[in-house]
């Protein structure tokens, strides 16, 4: 354990560490653009310059620690050089923060105010380059804003292994460009480079000009896209910035989704499917309880369901593997005695052309909570027989023609579907963005999600619903 001196403070370091890692670990912030804890060291931005006594200035990200070295991260020399480097990096940067989606969370912007604060000293016109270069159908590249830190190329080479990005030419005509025969559009992790980009050069088409980032807040959540259960941040509008005249749906819709760093599950990455959850969550919702297609108040529908459950002799339940741990527990606790035959239903099948599995994150089962559901209930298709007189279907994705015709159906679903009207009792459920809970992923790691949006008046939380359905009064139908 070599001991080094950071600004005069003695700190312990491991031999394999660099000065930058030691500094960040000990709460001494050293600014950096190109370095990233999960990528290889490139050392091309020169932003993390520190002064070592007797050795002068060098970059901290590529400097191994040696015993007794005296590092100064804030000396006058370092400050002056940082300022000069920022001048150099912004030499041809267009400074169009006003129309840049990164503004507000931009590293360059933050460092400029923290370490430079001066307008450009250059008298020459800025070098112009390609704007809105079409990298894929998800990502646009603005070469003027690019500071050539190469985080994106290193990501495609080291993490996603698609090798889809490279760099062409040198000097101020150097550009990030896609490699011809390896399209970035086929990389299922491509959107991570938008988060990696320290400036606004890589722009997500989904989020392009959708909202300024300071109008948004991030709610921690879990991606239900597969059994990996990556932790994500759902960005939605802050209540104090709700629009009053513009489209009201802006207030309750997902603006974008970014990964929430979680070393136990997904590290700092998620796949593109996780970014597109709005496609799943923002389908047309079912918000009205119904009896055979006839809209009724919530209390009446719950009563009808209780009567059906009370009268059933051979009830069967199909349990959703999109239910949270709490909801599955609640079902087991309150309805487990009635529904002895409770089987786990697979709500979501892989879509056509979707990647099934790879060695980074994506898993073949496209449902978030199969692990917990398997713990509590039986797997596989239930055995219907002539006596089956009630089937409770929780969640979507089940073909009603498999249910014997004499059986009554209680259907719990969140989205508008033709089956809703065919069920004897239909009850609308809240979705993941409207309630709190936990999912257990296939490794057994439990992750928490929190609500972002209010649910509709007649929409029920499954956990409370199962409690309300418990102990149905037997004997009267």
């Amino acid at each position: 354990m070599p001991e080094i001196f950071l600004n005069g403070q003695a700190v312990q370091a491991r031999e394999d560490q660099t000065v930058l890692q030691v500094a960040l670990e000990n709460g001494v912030f050293v600014p950096y653009f190109c370095w990233h804890p999960h990528l290889s060291t490139a050392g091309n931005c020169r932003m993390c310059l520190v002064e070592v006594e007797g050795r002068g200035l060098d970059i901290a990200c590529n400097m191994p620690v040696s015993a007794g070295m005296k590092v100064f991260t804030d000396s006058d020399d370092v400050k002056a050089h940082r300022k000069a480097i920022l001048q150099f990096i912004t030499l041809n940067h267009p400074v169009d923060c006003g129309i840049c989606d990164k503004a507000g969370e931009c590293t360059l912007q933050d460092y400029h105010y923290a370490y430079n604060g001066e307008p450009s000293l250059s008298v020459d016109a800025k070098v112009r380059s390609t704007k809105y270069y079409n990298l894929s159908n998800r990502i646009l590249l603005d070469n003027e804003r690019c500071i050539l830190c190469l985080r994106c190329t290193r990501f495609t080479h080291e993490i996603s292994k698609s090798m889809a990005l490279g760099i062409e030419r040198r000097g101020d005509v150097s550009n990030i460009r896609p490699v011809e025969d390896r399209p970035l559009g086929e990389d299922p992790y491509s959107d991570n480079i938008v988060d990696l980009c320290p400036v606004g050069a890589l722009q997500s088409r989904q989020f392009l000009y959708k909202s300024r980032v300071w109008y948004l807040k991030a709610t921690p959540s879990v991606c239900p896209g597969c059994e990996r259960g990556c932790t994500i941040q759902v960005w939605h509008r802050k209540p104090e910035w709700f629009v009053k005249s513009l489209d009201q749906r802006q207030n309750t819709s997902i603006a974008r989704i970014t990964p929430l760093e979680n070393p136990a599950v997904n590290g700092p990455w998620i796949c593109n499917k996780g970014r597109d959850l709005a496609r799943i969550f923002e389908r047309v919702r079912a918000d009205q309880p119904m009896l055979k297609g006839r809209p009724v108040p919530v209390a009446e529908a719950i009563d009808a369901a209780r009567r059906l459950i009370g009268a059933a002799r051979h009830p069967v339940a199909l349990v959703s593997n999109w239910g949270s741990n709490e909801e599955l527990d609640s079902f087991k606790r309150h309805l487990g005695e009635v529904f002895v035959h409770a089987h786990v239903k697979t709500d979501w099948q892989p879509e056509e052309g979707e990647r099934l599995e790879d060695d980074l994150l994506i898993r073949p089962d496209k449902n978030p909570n199969t692990a917990k559901a398997r713990e509590l209930f039986d797997m596989g298709e239930p055995n219907y027989h002539d006596g089956t007189d009630l089937v409770l279907v929780w969640g979507e994705g089940y073909d009603f023609s498999r249910i014997p015709p004499q059986a009554k159906i209680i259907f719990l679903n969140s989205y508008l579907a033709p089956e809703n009207g065919h069920a004897d009792v239909f009850l609308p459920l809240s979705i993941q963005t409207e309630r709190a809970g936990h999912y257990t992923n296939f490794q057994g790691v439990v992750s928490k999600f929190e609500p972002c949006f209010p649910k509709g008046e007649a929409v029920l939380d499954a956990e409370a619903l199962f409690k309300a359905l418990e102990a149905p009064p037997r004997g009267h139908t």
Partner: protein, 193 residues
């Protein structure tokens, strides 16, 4: 002045000191009616005989002449030479606005590389605007201004108090922006040999 009464602190700072004449109510009321009615009748007489000098201004046909040149009145959005808004939908005005009355929807225009971002909707709620002028100061493009006039501000329902982009652009069109386009001194293109 030996008969001066002892000082009694007033219950409130301008509590009136009234004698029997004021307390009797009738004379004071009559005096008030005489003053108000006198002004009213004099004004009405001037109006009936068509003479100037009545105190009432017939807003909005008549506008007070003593508005200062820098009075902060109704907003305008400046136009580029082709009539499109100078605004780039950066939301600086909406962010700085202390009453949060400005709402902007941004859109992408791939055909205009110099101005790829433009406002598809730009709306100001005049029922809550405090006319502080911070939006004008925050604007980096000289796209929003406040002119001294305040025409047609009153309305009969809240919905009507939202000023839409079309009216902001066109009720008093202005093109003399301080930041003209295209930007002077466009540099050489990176990637060119």
């Amino acid at each position: 002045m030996s008969s001066r009464k002892p000082y009694v602190r007033k219950r409130y700072w301008n509590e009136p000191e009234m004698g029997w004449y004021e307390r009797s109510y009738f004379f004071e009321i009559w005096r008030g009616i005489r003053i108000t009615g006198g002004v009213f009748l004099a004004n009405m007489w001037k109006w009936m005989t068509g003479r100037k000098g009545a105190l009432t201004a017939y807003y909005p046909e008549e506008i007070r002449a003593d508005y200062a040149a820098h009075n902060r009145g109704k907003h305008i959005l400046t136009q580029r030479p082709d009539g499109r808004p100078q605004c780039v939908a950066c939301n600086m005005c909406a962010t700085v606005c202390p009453a949060q009355v400005i709402e902007i929807d941004a859109a992408f225009d791939p055909d205009d590389p110099e101005h790829p971002k433009y406002p598809s909707r730009f709306e100001i709620d005049y029922s809550r605007c405090v006319f502080c002028g911070l939006c004008v100061e925050a604007c980096p493009e000289d796209a929003i201004r406040m002119v001294k006039e305040t025409p047609d501000l009153p309305g009969f329902d809240r919905g009507r108090m939202w000023l839409k982009q079309d009216e902001l652009l066109n009720w008093q069109p202005k093109q003399d922006v301080a930041k003209p386009y295209p930007a002077a001194g466009a540099g050489r293109t990176r990637g060119a040999p």
